[in-house]
Amino acid sequence: MIGFADVHVRLGGRDVLRGVTARLPERRVGVVGANGSGKSTLARLINGLALPTSGSVTVLGLDTRRHAAKIRRGVGFLFTDPDAQIVMPTVAEDVAFSLRRKGLEREEVARRVHEALAAYGLAGHADHPAHHLSGGQKQLLALCSVMVLQPDILVMDEPTTLLDLRHSRQVAEVLRGLPQQVVAVSHDLPLLADFDRVLVLDQGRIVADGSPEEAIGHYRKMMA
């Protein structure tokens, strides 16, 4: 459960979010809007990477301002550019990096890493350098490294923007199978088509909120 209560965010003298209020209990929530409308800021509020200037954000029953570390453990975040997110030189090492603070035995880490890589179709690449993967495979690896920690919520900021159609579909397919709550910022409208709810942002405010058809229809009209 994610809640925004009259959230304002001011960055570098600009009002980036201007009074956002919403309760998001749905399992699949999409966010669309023009460039600069505040989507990334909204997403970053959910794991405490950004904090509200006024108002409050509640995630998993906790205020993000006071429980940043705990919330970060419960909220996985997938960025647009997997190259910025993969921090270890090889595929398996990057997934293992996520597990470093778990205090697991070496064999247990190896087992979980292997299992996770297999689930994302990367088992054959375990010892390959990350930079040998295709863009889509890199994004799957980034997702795998997030999901191996089994977060309660997954937030994604334009996860398919850099991917070709085939890899976008592959990521969408993986998302469909996730049991977690997912919040996805995206311009990839087909990705959001079977979501439970879509928000439309414009200049830091929610201007439409409803089913994907309604919200995306509104967004299309707005962009026309």
Binding site: R72, F79, D81, P89, E93
Partner: protein, 201 residues
């Protein structure tokens, strides 16, 4: 680029199975011995030993060549200069020392996962704690550096192509400024991603 990034060649040879710390210590000892070996004959023996280790490691000739390839011009230049100044024997000794040290260091990289190397380094760096440095962060810094080489290289290619498309061929400034800007942007994104992955916890 292969010399640094993803140089690890998976395998199960005795060298692969040796702990990373032992390999690093062995490398340090071997390099000291190389410096102490006096004659071309002794170094020839050392060269045979290094070649033998490569055979045992089963990494293959291509991977082996990739390790020494980056220093090939340097080695040739070194040999030439030494020949002129200290004679043929001295030149052979110095050049072989450098070449064998590089080959041995390469062998360690080829047979050791970065994570194992990191763990070993973390242990070596433990005394750094005494002066207020965090060994985990130091070894993470090394991994990030290794990981960033291909990323920045790809950025450089992109910047270069963009300049070419605009008809700018040979301006260092037109190349360097956008590369620095995009590298900084990458560093920023990386920092944020590290926070998201719980580095600050």
């Amino acid at each position: 680029m292969n010399g640094l990034t993803g140089a690890y060649v998976p395998g199960s040879s005795p060298l692969h199975r040796l702990p990373a710390g032992a390999k690093l210590a062995g490398l340090a000892v071997a390099c000291t011995v190389l410096v102490l070996l006096p004659s071309p004959a002794a170094l020839g023996g050392a060269a045979a030993a290094v070649a033998g280790l490569y055979v045992v490691s089963r990494v293959g000739p291509a991977a082996a060549w990739a390790q020494v390839r980056p220093v090939r011009y340097f080695v040739v230049a070194l040999f030439g200069l030494q020949w002129v100044f200290v004679g043929l024997e001295g030149a052979a000794v110095t050049t072989l020392r450098v070449l064998l040290a590089v080959a041995l260091a390469g062998l360690v990289t080829l047979t050791t996962r970065t994570s194992a190397m990191m763990a070993a380094l973390e242990r070596c760096l433990r005394p750094a704690r005494l002066v207020g440095l965090d060994p985990f962060r130091l070894s993470l810094l090394l991994s990030l550096t290794v990981r960033s080489v291909p990323v920045i290289a790809a950025l450089a290619v992109r910047v270069r192509e963009a300049q070419r498309a605009r008809g700018v061929e040979r301006s260092l400034r037109a190349f360097a400024v956008p590369l620095v800007v995009s590298s900084l942007r990458h560093a920023d994104a990386l920092g944020e991603a590290l926070s998201a992955r719980g580095l600050d916890d």
